[in-house]
């Protein structure tokens, strides 16, 4: 009668073995991901605990594309829905970005949108 494993319907438990600290105009952002490509953009001298903003980014080809890119201001949250297939959520008080993106979106493009999100959210160092 036992079930094999609790279901992960929301893909919350995708392993994220890669971690890099990248520099943005809002400060160092620590990106944890299932995609190692972010390490090409890492700040070489940054210590792993240097990040003031934490980001978890999952590569996932089932993210839907949209006719337009939208930035939604929603209380403490900012949600960026990228037309080419990504959604990023900035939790301002927690200084955390969580999101999913298609593999076809270049890491540089994602870093650009992270920067835009942080700038709009005013989460950086002034």
């Amino acid at each position: 009668m036992s079930v094999a494993q609790s279901p992960d319907l929301l893909r919350r438990f995708v392993p994220t073995p890669y971690y890099s600290v990248v520099e943005t105009s809002s400060g160092p952002v620590g990106i944890r991901s299932n995609d190692g490509a972010f390490s090409y953009h890492r700040k070489p001298e940054a210590a792993p605990d240097a990040a003031t903003i934490n980001c978890v980014l999952i590569r996932d080809d089932s993210v839907p594309t949209r006719p337009q890119t939208l930035l939604l201001e929603q209380g403490d949250l900012l949600t960026l829905l990228i037309a080419e297939g990504a959604h990023l959520h900035l939790d301002g008080p927690k200084k955390e970005i969580l999101g999913f993106a298609r593999n076809s979106l270049d890491t540089l493009v994602i870093l650009y949108w992270i920067e835009r999100l942080l700038t709009h959210g005013g989460t950086g160092h002034e």
Partner: protein, 316 residues
């Protein structure tokens, strides 16, 4: 080009209490969820309400993309075409940005959106979604559980054909009240797989459709299509686990620990950021596993299974 959308000014605030949980809706749309929840729950949870902000936007371009659900840490994101929802489990809030057309589809809100919101936010408002059918028989709530494919829906319908009232055929929402556990359904359609037409002739006039999880199924209003009695809540008194067998039917008592383990393993895992909410689920499961429970091994048609089970329950 990026379109920046701010949440719209709130024109209307009102409460609904599906599954006994208070949801406070703040919206700029007068007609949203109108008439979707006419009856009030008898057993309302004392937990803080869920805040649901619904901004209806004229400037959203429609999209045909399939329903999509993802979660990380305390946030869950879902989209239905151009309409999107961000659920914040820690803050018990939902931010919805929807098209005008989507906002007025009361059936989608009642049958899809509200059940998903309660499923995701359940642990933060003292609610446990249970993968089980639920029926009311002579003031006794009966939960029908079992792995997928065990026949919960078909047996629930067959039992309802024998006079039980159907509360839910798939997901039952459980919370604690001062009277004990309270089980709720959300009035969503009963989902019967395509082969159910062999057992319920009312389905022969319909065509099965592809459901949200890709299965070919009939999704029907049990009161309208199957002329069954329905109700929305009960106090559970018994749990019956279903198991298909090739041998003769039998009813075997189950230990508390087996019941507890089954429901715990069947529940969606919570991320470490929400670990503190696990306590709520464990408390509900501990009370649930106190109920008398048995495994009903059966073969043959749902009708014969229902008749056998009812006879044994009458004898008890």
């Amino acid at each position: 080009m990026t379109l920046v959308l701010r949440e719209r000014a709130i024109l209307k605030t009102f409460d609904i209490t599906p599954a006994g949980v208070r949801i406070r809706i703040r919206t700029n749309c007068e007609s949203i969820l109108k008439n979707a929840y006419s009856s009030r729950s008898r057993n309302v949870s004392t937990c803080a309400p869920i805040d649901l902000y619904v901004s209806v936007m004229d400037d959203l371009e429609e999209s045909n993309s399939a329903p999509y659900f993802r979660g990380l840490h305390h946030l869950v994101y879902m989209s239905f075409g151009a309409s999107s929802f961000v659920i914040d489990v820690l803050r018990r809030t939902v931010h919805a940005t929807v098209t005008k057309e989507f906002a007025t589809r009361a059936g989608v809100w009642r049958e899809r959106i509200i059940p998903i919101i309660l499923g995701v936010l359940g642990p933060s408002v003292g609610l446990m979604p249970l993968h089980a059918a639920c029926l009311l028989w002579r003031d006794r709530g009966i939960l029908l559980a079992g792995v997928s494919g065990a026949g919960k829906s078909t047996l629930a319908v067959a039992l309802a054909k024998h006079g039980m009232s159907i509360i839910s055929d798939d997901w039952t929402y459980v919370h604690t009240t001062d009277r004990g556990l309270s089980c709720h359904g959300l009035g969503v359609p009963v989902k019967l797989l395509a082969d159910a037409a062999l057992h319920f002739r009312e389905l022969n006039a319909l065509e099965p459709q592809v459901s949200l999880n890709g299965e070919l199924a009939y999704e029907v209003d049990p009161a309208v299509t199957l002329q069954l009695r329905t109700t929305s809540e009960c106090l559970p008194k018994q749990i019956i686990f279903l198991k298909r067998t090739s041998g003769p039917a039998c009813l075997i008592p189950l230990s508390r620990s087996t019941v507890f383990k089954f429901f715990l393993e069947n529940a969606e895992r919570l991320p470490s950021q929400l670990e503190h909410l696990e306590e709520t689920r464990l408390a509900i499961l501990a009370r649930l596993s106190q109920l008398p429970a048995s495994t009903f091994h059966y073969s043959g048609t749902p009708q014969s299974g229902a008749e056998t089970l009812l006879r044994w329950m009458e004898e008890q």
